[in-house]
């Protein structure tokens, strides 16, 4: 145990190129057992390459991997597991068709080279693993039927069960609400107490400040900052990550006083999801909406876009009451909606960037006889690429070739091209890095300044404070509180939420 407590894990002078492009140039990281270390960096900074090297998926060109008193020039996935390196990927890599018990127990069997499995042993392994992190989940349920937060905990139980010495968690909080994150952090503290070297990869600065002891910041494949977490603050981390001076002051444009309303919602009710929801949004106004898991905020947003049934209530768009029962009607009325899960709901992933950009409102590009005008399509696409600063050298490339932040901008552009009166954005900056986030918020602000109304649904309180004119908090399907511009403040919002 004593050697474990002082052991160090990490890499030294790692270089890795992919076809000429350098992903990592001489990166060194060291994590002690019983420490939570943060790796921070924008998309493309080399974080994922580093994880893949440590878990044996990629071999480095040069450099050493150090695991306790052993050194390796490269690892195979099996060796990595044998040496106690475990990675919890963003998608958790669980098998939906198998039970919780089997998902947790499989790696143990693989590690022991077992050929025959016993149901009893599988259940024992799983119960023990869940007990170890103090989590209670029915182990006989298929993973397909459990919530994302539980999946996360199962992935941790699975990883920590294997005599793990170094545990990577890749963006573990992206899909979790505030309450679930708290629970996750409790579990991380337990793992830490057991002497595991934990590496936390995240964009969310307030979270890494809360949980991490030490930090390494990567930019373009190089270490641009490392040390004790307490020596860094929000601003210095952002600056190191982006290489820019990032300010998080309020950027919401000044709102003209007006009695005009773009959208009025009156007594929206669908029991038990939400009831008696009433609010209105003025031209150029950015209204924020937040709430915990199951509060009904996503359903409400979808209801305004006609994708979730509304039992009673009224919606008035530009002074005219409309019937909302399909998204095409909402579109016609001038309401746009960007869903939270852009990868499955907002984009045609295999299609080109250009095709995605022009896919909403494709009618605009018709020439006589209903044929699509190719030149007009290309012109429009290029306009958006330039306007939203989407980083690509060829608009014909598939959307999958873009980074998360750029993909999100494509989704935004696609909807902005419709010129909606009200734009509903659900989690507009989930999973994008600080630089992209800033760009996206700027786009929202610019459009609001031109008179477009926004409804921003988000968990990211600092973001809401930064951009919104007003924020409503949803609790159990009701509006529990409304914060005016003067009352907006991170601390009070957090308090209202929890």
């Amino acid at each position: 145990m004593s050697t474990l407590l002082t052991a160090e894990y990490g890499v030294k002078d790692i270089v890795k190129s992919f076809g000429g492009a350098k992903a990592l140039s001489g990166v060194s990281i060291s994590v002690k057992s019983g420490e939570v270390h943060c790796i921070a960096g924008e998309n493309g900074s080399g974080k994922s390459t580093l994880i893949k090297i440590m878990s044996g998926i990629h071999a480095p060109d040069r450099g050493l991997i150090r695991l306790g008193d052993k050194s390796f020039t490269k690892l195979s996935p099996r060796e990595a597991v044998h040496e106690g390196v475990q990675v919890i990927f963003q998608d958790f890599s669980l098998l939906p068709n198998m039970t919780v018990a089997e998902n947790i127990a499989m790696p143990t069997y693989i590690l022991n080279n077992s050929r025959i499995l016993s149901k009893k042993q599988t259940k024992e392994i799983a119960s023990n693993a869940l007990d170890l992190i103090g989590v209670d989940i029915d182990i006989n349920t298929p993973v397909a039927d459990i919530s994302i937060a539980s999946k996360q905990l199962i992935a941790i139980a699975r990883a920590t069960n294997l005599g793990v010495k170094m545990l990577f968690m890749d963006e573990p909080t992206t899909a979790l609400t505030r309450k679930e994150i708290k629970r996750l952090f409790e579990v991380v503290e337990q793992i830490k107490a057991r002497g595991v070297a934990t590496v936390f990869v995240s964009h969310k600065i307030d979270e890494i400040q809360e949980i991490c002891n030490t930090i390494t910041i990567l930019r373009n494949g190089e270490v641009v900052g490392d040390g004790l977490m307490k020596d860094f603050n929000r601003k210095t981390i952002s600056q190191a990550m982006t290489g820019l001076d990032v300010s998080e002051s309020r950027i919401a444009p000044k709102l003209e006083k007006t009695t005009k309303k773009v959208v009025e919602i009156k007594n929206f009710t669908t029991k038990p999801t939400f009831s008696n929801i009433s609010f209105s949004i003025a031209p150029g106004e950015i209204l924020g909406m937040t709430g915990l898991l199951g509060s009904g905020r996503t359903e409400l947003a979808e209801a305004i876009f006609g994708q979730y049934p509304v039992d009673s209530g009224e919606i008035i768009v530009d002074g005219r009451p409309i019937q909302l029962n399909s998204s095409s009607k909402a579109l016609k009325a001038g309401i746009g909606y960007v869903p939270p899960d852009r990868l499955t709901q907002g984009l045609f992933l295999e299609q080109s960037i250009l095709n995605n950009l022009v896919s909403v409102g494709i009618d605009q590009y018709q020439s006589t006889g209903g044929r699509l005008s190719k030149t007009r399509l290309i012109e429009a696409g290029q306009h958006w690429i330039k306007d939203l600063r989407i980083k690509t050298n060829n608009p014909q490339n598939p959307v999958t070739s873009l980074s998360g932040g750029n993909q999100q901008r494509v989704v935004l552009a696609k909807w902005l091209a419709m010129n909606p009166h009200l734009m509903i954005l659900n989690g507009p900056t989930v999973g994008v890095d600080i630089g992209s986030k800033r760009e996206i918020l700027k786009i929202i602000r610019d459009r609001a300044e031109e008179g477009m109304a926004f409804l921003v649904v988000s968990d990211d309180i600092p973001e809401l404070v930064q951009i919104c004119h007003r924020v409503i908090v949803i609790k159990n399907g009701h509006i529990s509180k409304e914060f005016s511009e003067a009352q907006l403040d991170e601390k009070t919002l957090y308090e209202e939420l929890s």
């Binding site: 098998l95 693989i110 050929r115 499995l117 397909a144 996503t298 869903p339 989930v430 968990d459």
Partner: protein, 340 residues
Amino acid sequence: MNIKKLLLRNETALIIAIVVLSLVIGIKSPEFFTLANLFDIFRSSFVQLIFALGVLIVIISGGIDISFPAVGIFAGYTAVVLMQRFEWNPENLLLPIALAIIIGIILGAINSIAIATFGIPTLIATLGTSGIFRGLMLTFIGSSFISDIPVALDKFATADLLKIQPEEGTLARLHILIIPVAILAIFVSLLLTRTMFGRSVYALGGGVEATRRLGISVKRTQAKIYMLVGGLSGFAGILYVSLQRKANPYDLAGSELDIIAAVVLGGASIMGGYGTVFGTVLGVLLISLIKGNLILLGVSGSWQRAAVGALLLIGITVQALNESKKAKNRRVSTSDEVGE
């Protein structure tokens, strides 16, 4: 397991379908409810079931193999040709069966190379090899019908476990194959549920990337799967030749429909990850029942293929509907979690 869950299970639905169909046929034509007819349904199911067990494994893994009839007849026919050419005429069945299984495994290995090594999509790979296998057999092995198959194979066609002569009507014969086939089904079931290999097959069907990250070799597992299916198809092929008492290189073409339909109706998900041996056994029995007895209902033989095709589509539609219903339930209960 509670009653509601039991009723919702695919196997329960299949048993109900088999019982209802039997009753309908039986009411219209009483000769349906004879022991002879029951044993006939079994007899026509043996070869089908062995093929189906192989297909089940592939479908659970998220792939598909449509070359198994070609592999089966290639192995069966070639074994007979080899035995004739070298004048091997042993008393027992060991040699022809071993030959056919080995040939099946070799052909399965070719599928493995196409799929695991070159990463060709399984449907296309096996469609291609299916053509290659049949073409090679007809060109190099032979294209003529062989009616004087080795004695051991010929004798086996009438090896009965039970013979029951009712007071009136036809003699009911239960073929001895019921024992080895039952053992094989139990063996495959244990293989799938209790071994690391079996669970790897389910894992592959659940997600290729997740399986790889578990440290399971995707390629090695795929290679094993297609070789195993090849071996099973070879075994089925030689038994087919034996039961038919002739070796016809043009046989078994088109049987992929019946067998894939049986496996899918048995509850194996065409998307991979789900399926049981018990369900497959019921699926095979249902298809045999339809193919053998629809004629008693006055449905002409030419409608049988259409009926089986329709059943395949019904099976897949039911799966798709269940899946989207589940997804909807999940969405309503947890939709706030998505991506936030």
